[in-house]
């Protein structure tokens, strides 16, 4: 046996390399800094460094826009789907890093570790988006999850943070174990770990709808459904979203979904396409259930983060619709919706973080009472994001739903489209509750009873003018503006999505 080193296309690998290097640097630099004993600077430098890393990675990705390449003996595939999803993840990370400035969790986690873990998670996502065989797939999904387990728990002083970390870890590992076992079955059935190989294997007549393969598919579906918080594997979502440090929640909500859906699409719409007839109905039902559960669950939630968590579940249900139809239009819609979801969500979370730090209410809905009069600059992003999430016209949310419904109707899943419509109807009840709190209620009485959801006894010190900090307001405004812009001029985003879709079919 002789060793054949695989062809290394470093240009195409560069985004991954950049991120990896970024992780190491962010870890190392502050150490030097801390030795000089000035952690303030350390945090700033690491923040800057992280942003730089993300920027460069994004740049390198865009550089490869529109020329799909196979990497390292077919372990990876850097195509437009991968790029677009990675870009979404990176954007989410960048926002999260900004929101994390002065975040108690980040300070406790110390100089660079917090950002490093964040970067590590992003690395996992970019990897996952490109994965072409089961092993990479599995490692990548763990690389994105494990740092998140940790990050959720980094606000060590708050019991909720630890609780969320542990819950996420346990249920998450259960999920990955299931995923792994499913992969094992698929490997057994097809005799290969490569997606292509699997496609060939399960496509092979003798195996079409063979119990081994099908159950394998089922278990992989469970694993991915867990990551994308599809009911009934969603239950970790509200708890973890509420418990985790808010910037992390904002990151998880979008990036994890995006990455997981990327591989979901790759694996099901490509590798398992031959079995589509078998898994489509199942996933459709799951989507419907998710929409229903997410939307009714969000009703009457007082914690904004929890509310967004449930709404995230519902949104995942919508997005899954794009996957179910297993068509190019479906993937387009899916990517488009994810991009839109990024904007809508970040606009909301920026405001939540700001209010969390400026009021004693934590993320309770009371924190945004009368926001319209006191802090228009915060009220508008949150309003827009709520309306967008509800799918109101002239926002990206409307176009997103429109796109999904088109795909669904085309794929003969009209009933699911109707379900989406009904779902967003219910969703109004809670989204508008937030809007009403901002515009139709008198100002929040700043000296209220402390015992409120979200503001635990070990509440963080209040920063009275957090609502004016550029690094909180600017991202929110930016995202909100984007949500409106792409609601009125969606074509660029549509093309972006269509590129992604085209790279699969």
């Amino acid at each position: 046996m002789t060793f054949h080193a695989p062809a290394m296309d470093y240009a195409a690998l560069s985004p991954l390399i950049a991120l990896t290097a970024g992780v190491c640097l962010v870890l190392l630099l502050p150490l030097l800094g801390r030795s000089r004993g000035s952690s303030g600077i350390a945090i700033q430098t690491s923040t800057a460094l992280t942003l730089a890393t993300l920027a460069s990675a994004a740049g390198l990705l865009i550089w490869h826009w529109n020329d799909p390449t196979e990497l390292v003996a077919g372990a990876l595939r850097l195509d437009d789907l991968a790029i677009s999803i990675s870009l979404i993840a990176i954007a989410a990370a960048a926002f999260a890093v900004l929101l994390s400035v002065r975040e108690p969790a980040a300070e406790q986690a110390g100089g660079g570790e917090y950002q490093a873990l964040l970067l590590g998670s992003v690395l996992g996502m970019t990897l996952l988006a490109q994965a072409q065989n089961l092993v990479t797939f599995f490692v990548a999904i763990e690389t994105l999850s494990i740092p998140l387990y940790i990050l959720c728990a980094t606000d060590l002083r708050r019991e909720r943070s630890l609780e969320s970390g542990l819950k996420y870890l346990i249920v998450g590992s259960l999920g990955s174990a299931t995923l792994l076992y499913g992969m094992a079955f698929l490997y057994g059935g097809s005799g290969s770990t490569d997606f292509a190989g699997i496609a060939a294997g399960v496509g092979h007549a003798g195996l079409l709808s063979d119990p081994l393969v099908l159950v394998g598919i089922g278990m992989v579906a469970v694993g991915l459904a867990f990551k994308t918080s599809i009911a009934p594997f969603h239950q970790w979502t509200p708890d973890v979203y509420e418990g985790a440090p808010t910037p992390i929640t904002s990151f998880m909500a979008v990036a994890t979904k995006a990455a997981a859906f990327a591989v979901f699409v790759r694996f099901f719409d490509v590798a398992l396409a031959p079995e589509a007839g078998d898994w489509q109905p199942a996933l459709a039902v799951l989507a419907a259930a998710t929409i229903a559960i997410g939307n009714v669950g969000a009703l009457g939630q007082d914690s904004l983060k929890r509310l967004l968590g449930y709404s995230g579940v519902a949104q995942a249900g919508y997005i899954l619709g794009g996957l179910v139809v297993a068509s190019e239009a479906g993937v387009d819609a899916l990517v488009f919706y994810l991009a839109g979801y990024l904007l809508m969500n970040l606009a909301a979370f920026g405001v939540v973080v700001a209010r969390e730090r400026e009021t004693p209410f934590g993320d309770d809905i009371r924190a945004v009472r009368g926001l319209g009069r006191e802090r228009p600059l915060l009220a508008w992003p949150l309003t827009i994001s709520m309306l967008a999430l509800a799918g109101m016209p002239a926002t990206v949310g409307f176009i997103g739903k429109l796109y999904l419904i088109e795909a669904l109707v085309e794929g003969d899943y009209t009933w699911l489209a109707v379900f989406i419509a009904v779902g967003s109807m219910i969703s109004l009840a809670y989204y508008l509750r937030v809007v009403a709190a901002m515009w139709m209620r008198p100002g929040g009485e700043a000296t209220a009873a402390p015992a409120i959801a979200g503001a635990s006894p070990e509440a963080d010190p209040i920063d009275p003018d957090a609502g004016r900090r550029w690094y909180l307001v600017a991202p929110a405004l930016l995202a909100a503006a984007g949500a409106i812009f792409f609601g009125i001029i969606p074509q660029p985003l549509v093309e972006f999505a269509q590129h992604a879709g085209a790279s699969l079919f």
Partner: protein
Amino acid sequence: MEAVLFFVAAIGALGGAIGVIAMRNPFYGVLALIVHLFSLAVLFLLLTAAFVAAAQVVVYAGAVMVLYVFVVAYVGGGAESAWEPIPGQRFLAPLLGAALFVELAVAVLASSLLALGQDGPHVNPGFGDPAAIGYLLLEKFLIPFEASSMLLMLAAVGAIVLASRRGVDEGAPR
């Protein structure tokens, strides 16, 4: 001969597993797991996966279990009470476990894959030895290999973040 070994190992693995979930005291649970791991290693050997078996012994029974022991010793693994706060859990859990097993078993046994029924094809002696695995790791699976190393580092960092004293220094006294 092989069959005997298989059954011994299988019983060991299963017994270990049962021990893990049955032992009140986490410490015994850890020990049970070690038994389980060793018997798995034997099964790996039977499946001509020498390197995996070795790794199993070294990594798990060696490193990981030691970690467990330390932690259990540190947090003082007191026996957990028999009281079950979630209604129906005690009843549903075994049911689901059984259901799961049945479904998976059926999936395997009902499969039309003929190969499942045989001992597997004849493989050349080099099968599963460190060299072969090494080649795979450095050629086909280079990326996962690198990634998992990255993952290890991140996990280590995370463990430090979580377990370091920093958290409680600022923590509010209870």
